[in-house]
Every structure is written in C-alpha cells, then in structure tokens.
C-alpha cells in the first residue's frame, strides 16, 4: 500500500486525490451519527441536571439533586433504582460468565476437532443468532410459560400434577438469565474460535515434547493464548446485556426487571423524563467504563479481523 518504487516518484504528485475528497466522504456518516446519536445523549445530560425539561410551566435550573438522590450514599433508604441497578449488574455478570464458560468448549470443538467442516458448523450455531431477537424471546415464552410447552409436557407425563407449574420457570431471574444466555452464547464462541483456530499447532506439540500432558498443555499454553478471545467474548455479552430491557419485559417478573426497564418506565408508564435521563446517562457511563477497561481486547480483535 505504501511501498512504491522511487522511479515512480514524479507522476505520483498527479495521482494525489484532492484534499477535499476524504472530508466529502466522511462528513455525511459523521453528521448522521452526531445528529441522531450524540445530540440525543447531550440532551439527556441536560435533562439529568434539570437544565431542560418536558414538563410545561416548570422553571428549569441547574441542579445535581436527582443525581444525589440516585447515587448510593443517599441517606437512610437505599434508592430503589440503585438497588435495581445492582440486581441488574449481577444478572449481567453471571450470564456473561456462564456464556463464556459454555462457549469455550464450542469454540474448542470447532477449532480442534471439526477440522474441515468447522466453518459450516460455526454457521450452524450462529444461524439462530441471526434470527429475530424478539422472536427468540417469544419462542422461549411459549416454552416456559405457566401453561406452556415445558409445564404441560410435565403434566402430560405425570411428573407434576395437572395445573401445577414449576414456579421458577418463568417471570423469574432464572428465565431472564436463561433467555439472555441463549441469545448470546453462539456469539461468544466467535472471538474464542478465531484465536484458537489461529493457534500455532507447533506450540502445543512443543509443550508435549517437553513432557506436558494434554491438561497441562491446555492450562499453560492454549488457555493463556486464547484469553484475549475469552475477554472479548465476555464483553460481547456484558455490554449489550447491561442495557437489556426486552427479555425482562417478556419473561421477567417484578423481581427480575433490569435497569433498562427502570429507564423505560420513566418514559412510558410514569413519565418523569428528567429522572429517567439520570438513569440513562448513568447507563451510558457504565458502558463507557466497561469499554475503557476492556476496549483494548476488542480493539485487537477488530484489528486482527481487518488485517
């Protein structure tokens, strides 16, 4: 791309593109993102400190009061929305960890066992991931609901008495976690697979020539080398799940709503846009911190995918 013979130097000046060319190309997409994504976030920030409001006849004045109310050291009573945030993060982290643990053997199988058919098999596990997210949640609702497929099947084979559904099967943290896990596990396998697939087989053989067993080779060579993929996979679930609200809406109960549902409720059920803006901006902040902490693992992944 950059190496060119010196002999070509004189005509090179002619080939240079006009300076405006790049700006002309990058401007439209950048403007769209600024107008449709950055401007809304800026307005959310203004709403969160009461500089703007949707309420008519309400004076606006800069104040941190809603932030002080939301953030943890809020006096005697723990703020219910902060509590919701904590529950939500526990669900998110647990689901992400389980998804990584379950996806690792999938990637390992694809990379080391299914030699020739590995891309076909990868497509096999990825295909459900590309069907409608909402439909997958609806499909699980059919499976899990009180008079759904699993419960009625149990009644049918007399494992449980008729009409007596498993209480934890739906509208619980279990159902929310299960559906989130289901939605993301194929996707987590991808970055792990990419790293395992590129692993130099000589490294593994060298380890075994030096006397390591398969388990030792795995623990001391394969696993450490695939760690960037593991972390990338973890973040691939962590970030979208942090802002999740659709799954709890359909298969979650009152105790298993997530932080995204709290934000939603401030804009639909009990409108208070200004307080909702505090929660929304907090969510953006949390995601950006995750990105700062884990971003370099994603960046290497992207760079490698591009090269």
């Amino acid at each position: 791309m950059t190496d060119r013979p010196i002999a070509e130097a004189p005509p090179r000046r002619l080939r240079l593109r006009p300076r405006g060319g790049r700006a002309f190309l990058i401007a439209p997409p950048v403007l769209v993102v600024l107008a449709v994504m950055v401007a809304p976030i800026v307005l959310i920030a203004l709403y969160s400190v009461d500089v703007k409001t949707n309420l008519p006849f309400t004076p606006t004045k800069f104040t941190w009061s809603m932030w002080k109310d939301f953030l943890p050291p809020s006096g005697k009573f723990p703020n219910p929305f902060w509590h919701r945030f904590e529950i939500s993060m526990v669900i998110t982290v647990v689901v992400s960890l389980i998804a990584v643990a379950a996806a690792y053997p999938l990637a390992y199988f694809l990379a080391f066992v299914s030699r020739r058919s590995r891309y076909t098999l990868l497509l096999l596990i990825l295909a459900p991931f590309f069907t409608s997210y909402l439909l997958r949640v609806i499909a699980w609702k059919i499976m899990l609901s009180n008079h759904g497929v699993i419960n009625t099947a149990l009644w049918d084979i007399h494992l449980r008495s008729h009409g007596d559904g498993l209480p934890w099967l739906i509208y619980s943290k279990f159902s929310v976690g299960l559906v989130l896990f289901y939605s993301w596990v194929p996707f987590v396998a991808v970055p792990i697979f990419v790293l395992l697939d590129r692993l130099d087989p000589n490294l593994l053989e060298a380890a075994q020539d030096l006397g390591a067993g398969r388990v030792t080779t795995f623990l001391r060579v394969t696993l450490p080398l695939s760690l960037p993929g593991v972390i990338a996979g973890f973040v691939f679930v962590l970030i979208p799940t942090t802002g999740e609200f659709i799954t709890p809406l359909l298969v979650g109960g009152p105790g298993s709503q997530m932080f995204g549902n709290s934000i939603q409720s401030f804009f639909q059920d009990t409108p208070n846009w200004n307080y909702g803006a505090v929660l929304a901006l907090w969510l953006v902040g949390v995601v950006f911190v995750m990105l700062l902490v884990f971003g370099r693992f994603l960046a290497t992944d992207l760079r490698e995918a591009n090269s």
Binding site: P11, R22, L34, V36, L43, Y108, F109, P128, I138, R214
Partner: protein, 269 residues
C-alpha cells in the same frame, strides 16, 4: 490434532456440541411446530394439525400492514446505511484522513450505546424540536445503529483490494469517480450485498427504538409482535408469522453466506 484433544475428549466435545445445537434449535423448532397447532394456547398435548393461523395472519390487515411497513423501512435502511457505510469505509481506508481515529471511534460508537438510551434520547430531541414521533425518526435511528455493521463489513473488503488496480485506472485517465464506479465498486459488490442484507435484518428486527418512536397507529412488525403476545386472541397468528420469519431468516443467512463465499472465490481468480 492429537496435541489438543484425545479420543475421549473428542467424543465428549462432540457430544457437548451436539447438545448445544439441540438447545439452540429447540425453541425455534417448537415455534414452528406450534404454528400448526389447532388451539389458541401453545400447550401439550398437541391439538392436531392446521394451517388456519397462517390464513388468519395474512388476512389480518393490521399484521400485514405492519409487515409491509417494516419491509419498506428495512429496505430504505439497507440502502441508506450501506451508502453511508461505503462513504465512511472509503474515507477510513484512504491514505490520509484528518483525525482518522476520532471519526472511526465516533462511527463505531453506536455498537455500544444501549438502544434504550438512543431511543429515549431521540424521544427527547423530537420533543425539543416540536415534532411528533414518526417512522422517519425510526429510520434515522436504524441507520445509525446499522452504520457500524456496514462499515465493519465493507472496510475489510476494501483492504484486500490491490490499490495498483485503482491507480492503473487513474493512469489510464479515469478520474476519482470513474475509477471508483468502474473498478472499486464492482470488486466490493459482495461486501455491499452482505452489508445491505445485514442492515435490512437489523432494521426489520429492531424493537427498542421502534417501540418508542413508531406512531401508535402505525407499528412496525416487531412492535406489532410484542403487542400480539399480550393479546391471547392474536398469539397464534404471532406464532405463525414468527415461524415463517425464523425459517426465512435462517435460509437467508445460509444462502447469504454461501453466495458470498462463491462470489468472492470467483472474484479472487
């Protein structure tokens, strides 16, 4: 590769992989099976085979209207996001670009901003401007969330192109526009098709933004699906339509992947 897995390991991993495939497909298969179930509630024992829910679904004008609305939205989104994606990708892979990393970060940012935040932010913007929620706003939101995917599909393809072909076109007298249209564009067609398909799917499935911004009288298809799950009389139709969409999108994903491989192989030779 014997260094990584032993014979027993192969069996265990293979079994595990098989179980996970079953786990991934069971809910989808159940959805398809119960689309043909002759009862209002999807429950066992199976109540007999019927295709009446498909007839009911396609004679429900609310449902077909929502479907058409979403299809148009997704088509426009596929075209607009891919067009913007090509522009961005050309600029990003070019030799010199002022503040390249800033633009790259900005354009990839919609990958991580939660859709719920984008949705409520757009609600606020529309309120501040004095407008009403509209399908145009939904489209704008969809373009922004699709753009990074379009860029991530097109950039790698542009990187694989041999720049000397484009330079040859310029040496032969083509200007930038002609060189792009006659040389670069035909070579990135597979990536463009992938991008359009991916952006189509993103818009067609998107619920969060549409649920906040689609006007009450004109829901998109996911918004209609969601409201359908809350109305027992509509649920069988939702399941029937869902079954069609699931089967169709899996066929589309497989066909898309196969055709991309075939096309790129042909272009490579």
């Amino acid at each position: 590769m014997s260094a990584a897995v032993g014979r027993l390991g192969k069996v265990i991993l293979g079994g595990y992989f098989g179980l996970m495939v079953v786990f991934l497909y069971v809910p989808l298969v159940v959805l398809v099976i119960f689309a043909f179930n002759n009862a209002y509630i999807p429950a066992l024992p199976y109540s007999g085979f019927t295709t009446k829910w498909f007839h009911a679904a396609f004679s429900n004008t609310d449902l077909t209207g929502a479907l058409k609305r979403s299809a148009w939205l997704a088509l426009l989104n596929g075209a607009a996001a891919s067009l913007l994606g090509v522009a961005a990708a050309l600029a990003m892979t070019g030799r010199r670009l002022f503040l390249r990393s800033v633009w790259t970060t900005l354009l990839l940012l919609p990958l991580v901003v939660p859709y719920i935040v984008l949705a409520i932010g757009m609600v606020i913007v529309i309120h501040q401007l004095g407008y009403q929620a509209s399908l145009t706003a939904v489209l704008a939101g969809h373009i922004v969330i699709s753009l990074p995917y379009s860029i991530l599909v097109i950039v790698p393809r542009l990187r694989t192109l041999d720049e000397s072909i484009v330079e040859a076109a310029r040496d032969l007298g083509a200007d930038n526009v002609r060189a792009f249209l006659l040389v670069t564009l035909p070579l990135i067609v597979p990536a463009l098709i992938s991008s359009a398909l991916i952006c189509f799917t993103i818009s067609f499935d998107e619920f969060a933004i549409a649920s906040f911004l689609a006007p009450p009288g004109s829901p998109t298809y996911p918004v209609f699906l969601y409201s359908g799950t809350r109305t027992p009389a509509l649920e069988p139709q939702v399941i029937a339509l869902g079954a069609i969409v699931v089967v169709f999108s899996i066929v589309l994903v497989v066909a898309g992947d196969v055709s991309r491989r075939v096309l790129e192989r042909r272009l490579a030779t």
